[in-house]
Each structure stands twice: as C-alpha cells, then as structure tokens.
C-alpha cells in the first residue's frame, strides 16, 4: 500500500473515531472544559412525564382545556364560562387528569390584592362518570355518595338538595368541620357525562353565599343538570359502555410495544358514519397512546340513531391492565 494512502486511511480512521466519540452515547459526566458555558435546563418545568393526557388532534376541545383570561374562566368542552369574583384568581394550575377520570379544572383563591378579611378557595373539578372509582352513575348519586362517605370529622349542614344556579339545576351539599371551623359547599351539575363541581371552602358562610350568588353570572349548556347531562345539542351524545359488541362492527386490538400496568382511560367521539373521529387519553404513556389511536381509527361502529337520525356519540373505553377496586352501585335513589 502506498505510504501516503495508508497515512490517509489512518487519519480517516482517527477522524472517524473522533466523530464517533462526539456522537457516542451521551455522557454521565466528564471533563467539559471545552465548553465553559453549557446550556442550562429550564427550572420549574416538568420535562420527564409519566402517563399523561393527550389527544389525537389539537382542535377538538378537551375537558382539561379550560383557561382563565382576565377574570373569566372558560371551558369550551363543557360549554362553561364563569366570572371570577373581584380580586380572586388562579394561583396555581391543577394536576393533569387522573387515570380514574378526575379533573382539577381550576383552583381559585383570593389574590394578593384581595381586601376582604375572610378567605377561602373555589375548586372547579370534574369526575368523568365513565371512569370514576366511585359507584355513582350520575352526579346526584356522586353527591349522595359524598354525603354517605363523609368522615366522622365532619357534620352535614345541608343534605344534597336540588337548587337553581345560573338558571340551571344543580345539587348542593354543605358540610363543615367543627375542628377546623371550615365550611364546604359543593355545587354540582352534569355535563357530557361528567359531574362538574364547584367546591367552595371558607370559614365564613357569608362569603360562600356571596360567591354562590355571583355564580348566577355563569353560562352553561342546556343539558346541565344533576342527572340530565348526557350531551346533545352542539355536543355528541355521551353513552357509557357504547363500545360493546353489539355496537362495534369492526374491532382491532392495539399492539402495545411494551408491557405496562397503568390504567389507560380513553374517551372517543364516533362520527355519524360510525368512525372514530377523535381520541382523548386521560392518561397514557406516548407509546400506549399511539398503539391505541392506531387501533381505534380502524374500529367501525353501528351509527347511533336519535329520533331516527344518526348522531355523534362520545363514549369511554378503558385500556390497560391495572386492577381496580370493585365498586357497588349506589343504593341511593336518583331523582331530578
């Protein structure tokens, strides 16, 4: 071999090895003196997520998609707008949806500018009635269950009672802790098969009542009511367990790449032709979401008819293999 060519080969090999080092597996540590100003990680950001919410498109509103702009909380999924009391604001955002179908939609407290002496908080939350760990089938049952499972530390101040708020039917439940001298008022209604709750906590019931009066400025969809909220109108009709055999014409099981044991609750919207047009994961790892989405878009349902016409349907399906506690149906009679 020509000496110059062999030197070239050696140099090439050396260069390649250098390149390989540069592109090698990332390092755990070492001497980084060649870059005295490395980039920093952002702080107070969740960069490594576990199972999290996601959706097949970014256009369809999601339950967790509410926001506060100025003094207005709005949630397009629930068709809900709520005007915050003066000097009340959201200090912190809530956690992501849970794999048991629980949403913290907003947490509102007096802002630093608040002039009043009484303090408290408003939690706006939602239970997805398709996935709740409680035995409730509707919002009325959920609040009755809330009353029945109240701990010994609390006393009931007003049993679940139907009231009108913002010209819609709600169930109201008041209880208190004598030890903490705190009062809770739960106002709940049902929208799209979710129990949407406003939970007001304060030492001062006068403050609570004034906050409730201000809730009359809220706007809600027509369906809202402790039992009645099952979609319709501009929203799809929501039907529990719609994905049972008699409604599914074609079913493809998701091909999971990795074995996991977390629950994967999924809400889907089925179009009038029986195709899945939207998939919302309340909680899933990205690989699970991809496998389930790929499968669900191949499913075919019998079109659902309402008054003889096909309508969109929203339903829930639980994928994943995590065990859950057995729940009993509520014994409380649901009335509205």
């Amino acid at each position: 071999m020509h000496p110059r060519f062999s030197r070239f080969l050696v140099l090439l090999g050396f260069s390649t090895s250098l390149l390989a080092q540069v592109q090698a597996a990332p390092q755990s540590g070492g001497d980084f003196s060649n870059n005295p100003q490395p980039a920093k990680l952002p702080v107070d950001v969740i960069l490594v997520k576990g199972a999290w919410s996601s959706a097949s498109d970014s256009v369809t509103p999601l339950p967790e998609g509410g926001r506060i702009a100025g003094n207005l909380f709005s949630n397009p999924y629930f068709g809900l707008t709520y005007v915050l009391s003066p000097d009340w604001s959201q200090k912190y955002t809530g956690p992501p949806p849970s794999d048991s179908g629980y949403y913290v939609l907003s947490q509102i407290r007096p802002a630093d500018t608040f002039k009043g002496t009484s303090r408290g908080s408003i939690l706006i939350a939602a239970h997805d009635l398709f996935f709740t760990l409680t035995p409730a089938r509707n919002t009325m049952e959920l609040i009755n269950y809330n009353r029945d499972s109240l701990g010994a530390d609390y006393k009931v101040e007003r049993p679940p009672t139907q009231v009108r708020v913002a010209n819609h039917s709600f169930v109201r439940f008041d209880y208190a802790s004598p030890a903490a001298q705190l009062h809770w008022t739960v106002l709940a209604t049902q929208i799209r098969c979710h129990a949407v709750q406003f939970i007001l906590t304060s030492r001062d019931t006068t403050l609570t009542e004034s906050l409730i009066r201000e809730m009359d400025k809220m706007s809600l969809p027509e369906e809202a009511g402790p039992i009645s909220g099952k979609g319709g109108g501009d929203a799809p009709v929501c039907i529990k367990d719609f994905a049972r055999d008699e409604n599914v014409v074609e079913r493809v099981e998701p091909a999971f790449a990795e074995r996991r044991f977390n629950p994967v609750p999924v809400r889907i919207i089925i179009d009038k032709e029986g195709r899945v047009r939207h998939v919302h994961f309340l909680s899933a790892f990205p690989d699970q979401a991809k496998a389930v989405t790929d499968a669900l878009f191949q499913w075919r349902f019998r079109p659902h008819l309402h008054d003889g016409k096909p309508v969109e349907v929203e339903t829930g399906i639980m994928f994943g293999r995590a065990p859950r506690s057995a729940t009993r149906p509520s014994t409380n009679e649901a009335t509205e």
Binding site: P26, S28, V48, L182
Partner: protein, 460 residues
C-alpha cells in the same frame, strides 16, 4: 429601648402588610427524648417464632457493618468502586438504626476515609442531609444536558480511588459542578425503614379499596399506583414506590449506595450509561462477584447473605411510637390530628391500613399500620418535580411518604431541601400539584390551629 421600639414597629408593619403570612406558628423541631423507633416488632422481641429475634439481631449487625473494599480494613467487604456511603446504618440512623439521615452527615468522612481522595461536592455538608445525586439527563459532549436522553440513575458521589485497599484503581467522580451549573442534578435523602414489614404486607386489594374510598374527595386529589413491571402488582418502596419488596429495595441499595454486588444485583455498578468494563477498569473490579452471597459451611444464622439479613432486619422493625404529649401537650396534639384529617391531608396521608395475614410473625399478622400514607404516587407539580422517571412514576410524581416517625426526622421532602416542617407543608403547592387544595385549606387555618397541626405531626 429604641431598638426594641423599632422592632415592634417593624413587626406591626410586617403583620399589617402581609395578611396572608402567619408568623405565629413554628415548627417545634425534632422531637427530643427517647427514640420512639428502632425496636423489633413485639412478637419478634418475644422471640416468636423461635429464633426470630436472633435473626433480627443478626440483621442489625449486618446493617451496622462498615464496608471496606475487601474486608481488610473494616469487616464488611465489597465497597465500591463507586459508592455514596460505607454502611447502611451511617445514613439510616435517625433517630435510631433503620431511620433516616442523622444530624452529622457521615458522607463528609466517607469521602476521605482510609485514604480515599474524593472531592466533597458542595451539596454535601457536615450538618446537611445525607444525599444521593441523580442527573435527570445525560450530557452532550459539550457539557450541555441532552433533553432527548433521560438519565435519572444514581451518580455515586465517591470512588475508592486512593484508599489503602483499592490498589491502583483510578476513577473520576461525576461532574457535579457542571451538573449544578446546568440545573441537571437532583437529590434524594434516605427513606426511614421503621414499620417496613407492615408496609410490605399490605395487600394490593386494601390499597385499591383505600384509593376508591378517597376518590370523591373535595380537594383535588387523585393518585395512582406504581406497578412492578413483571407481575403488575403494586410496588411500594422508595420515593417513587419503584420497588416491590424489601429484598429488592435492599439489594439495589447495597449495590447502588455502597457498591456491593449481591445476589439481587450481581455485578459491580458503573455510572449510568457506562459500559461495565470501560466504565470500571479491571484495576477497580477487585473482588469476584457477587461480593455478598449465601455463605455455605457455617451456622444457620450465618448462612444468609447480608442482603437477606438487611431485608429481615427492616421487615422486623416495629412502627414508630408517637408521643401523646410532646410537643405542645395532648390537647394540642389531639386537635392537630383532627385538623390534619379535616383539611384533607389524610386523603393521601391515610392514617392507617391493615396488613394481611402473615406467615412470618404475629405482629405482622392483620396488624394496624399507622403509616399515614396511601402508597399511591401523586403529581406534586413543578416546584417539587425532579424529572426522574422510575417505573410508572413520572418526573413530578412521588409516593405519599409515610409520616410515622416524622417527629424525629431532621430533613424533609425527597431532596432534604428543608429542615422546617412548615416549609415542607407549604412546598405541597405549586403548578400541577395535587397538594394545592389541602395546602389552601391549611392556609386558612388560624395560627393557633396551624400550630396544633404542626405539634401533631411532630408527635408522630
């Protein structure tokens, strides 16, 4: 006199302009007096079944053993090549052996013991918490964290380089200074192991039923479980409930924290991402592996490996005994207990759960474990997130830490960032945290009520 007046005016000024800030209540601090922990379960103390107390005591001696590289300096063998400390009991020491980090951090001595030539990282101080370090992400070759390459493994603080028993082994420490300057480092402190056998013996169905019973809370909480990747059952040990059993917990800790290979983790451990042979030169792999193993041709007690001894010792440790009067007196503690439940803390910090029937010893059998935990993992938001994923737990999810024995703990939260209980409570709130509701309720309590709650917690 003028100074006193000025101080009074200043105090009034602060009180007037910070109405949301309560300054009257204070953390009573680490509860003094006798350690309410560290004893064997009552049935084990009664040596029931026969010889169980001998096994507990044998486990205790193994737990307190100090390791050197080959057992020639200190009796234990297998230390390193990389390690965080030299004995289980150095870090699990407060208020008794088996607990959590002590007042004086042993890692300062570990760094240079027996001739070792380690630089002590700035986050390790004599009066600070015992810590292990992790880099959430690997680094690019230029020293910038690579956000496409999650790491999260333990970066051992020290190496055996320079020790009298380490021969020619030469290993660099990880680049802690760069990790700190790029925010690419998080810390964990030791979890106490009192009552660990009870925790191990709570059936999954009990945990699931407790989860369902708390599902309709009104404070914004909805946790989930971390599962063992193979059989799908609920895992429960470690800050993210990533370990299924005490045997696995002990095996991993022995390997990761002390560098002792064992029958659970059989090889010497390099740094995350490193190959075993290039990461650990032959000159540093001094002992045949596993270094800890079943011992043949010895007595019944001596046959077990250290690993089995550790697990048995932790399994037989009794749950801590709370004080009924200290701090603040019994009335204050009782009020604090009610408040703890009333404002929603007990939604996650479940006061007690019942164990399953046990084949080991009667005190583990259908016993009441006053653990103050649901063993679920919860989203704790951006201010506590460590961006380390373990099993099914993401970077912001943590197991509800059991609070039994909290009264005698020195450092709080997963990274030991505070020794002030009030700060630890306040750290439960932040963007994305399930703790916001309970913390908001805590904020509206009167200073006197908050003091009762602090007293209750310090009585545990």
């Amino acid at each position: 006199m003028k100074i006193v007046k000025l101080a009074s005016i200043l105090a009034l000024f602060v009180a007037s302009f910070l109405p949301g800030t309560t300054i009257a209540q204070t953390d009573p601090g680490v509860r003094g007096g006798a350690a309410g922990a560290g004893q064997p379960l009552p049935s084990v103390a009664a040596n029931n079944p026969f010889t169980s107390l001998d096994f507990f005591n044998d486990g205790f001696s193994r737990f307190t053993e100090v390791d050197s590289v080959s057992g020639t300096i200190e009796q234990g063998a297998g230390l390193g090549p990389r390690f965080n400390s030299r004995s289980c009991a150095f870090c699990h020491a407060q208020p008794a052996i088996g607990g959590t980090g002590p007042f004086t951090n042993p890692q300062v001595t570990d760094a240079t013991a027996d001739g070792a030539r380690n630089t002590i990282p700035s986050f390790i101080t004599a009066s600070g918490p015992v810590r292990e370090a992790r880099f959430p992400f690997f680094f690019n070759s230029n020293g910038s964290p690579n956000m496409n390459a999650p790491n999260g493994g333990v970066e051992d603080l020290f190496t055996i380089t320079g020790r009298r028993d380490a021969g020619s082994c030469s290993l660099p420490q990880p680049s802690f200074a760069v990790a700190q300057s790029t925010n690419n480092i998080i810390f964990r402190i030791p979890t106490p192991t009192f009552g660990a056998g009870m925790l191990e013996n709570i059936d999954d169905s009990t945990l699931l039923a407790n989860q369902a019973a708390n599902a309709n809370n009104n404070i914004g909480v909805a946790g989930t479980f971390n599962h063992n990747g193979n059989d799908g059952t609920i895992a429960r040990f470690g800050w993210k409930a990533q370990n299924k059993s005490l045997l696995i917990f002990a095996a991993e800790a022995y390997n990761v924290e002390q560098g002792v290979s064992n029958e659970g983790f059989t090889q010497e451990r390099p740094l995350p991402g490193e190959d075993q042979t290039t990461g650990l030169p032959a000159s540093c792999r001094i002992n045949p592996t596993p270094e800890d193993h079943t011992n043949f041709n010895t007595t019944a007690l001596g046959t077990s490996s250290d690993l089995v001894g550790f697990a048995l010792f932790m399994r037989f440790l009794d749950q801590p005994t709370p004080s009924t009067t200290i701090p603040g007196g019994s009335a204050s503690i009782a009020r604090g207990r009610s408040l703890f439940s009333a404002i929603g803390c007990a939604t996650c910090h479940t006061s007690s759960l019942t164990t399953s029937p046990s084949s080991l010893t009667t005190s583990l059998n259908s016993a009441t474990a006053n653990l103050f935990s649901d063993i679920e993992i919860h989203h704790m938001g951006t201010s506590l997130a460590d961006n380390v994923s373990q099993g099914g737990a993401g970077g912001d999810q943590f197991r509800t830490p059991p609070l039994w024995g909290l009264g005698q703990r020195i450092f709080f939260l997963h990274d030991g960032r505070t020794a002030n209980l009030l700060s630890a409570i306040q750290a439960h709130e932040g963007n994305g945290s399930e703790g916001n509701g309970a913390e908001a309720n805590f904020d509206v309590l009167t200073p006197s009520q908050q003091q009762d709650l602090l007293n209750f917690l310090r009585s545990l």
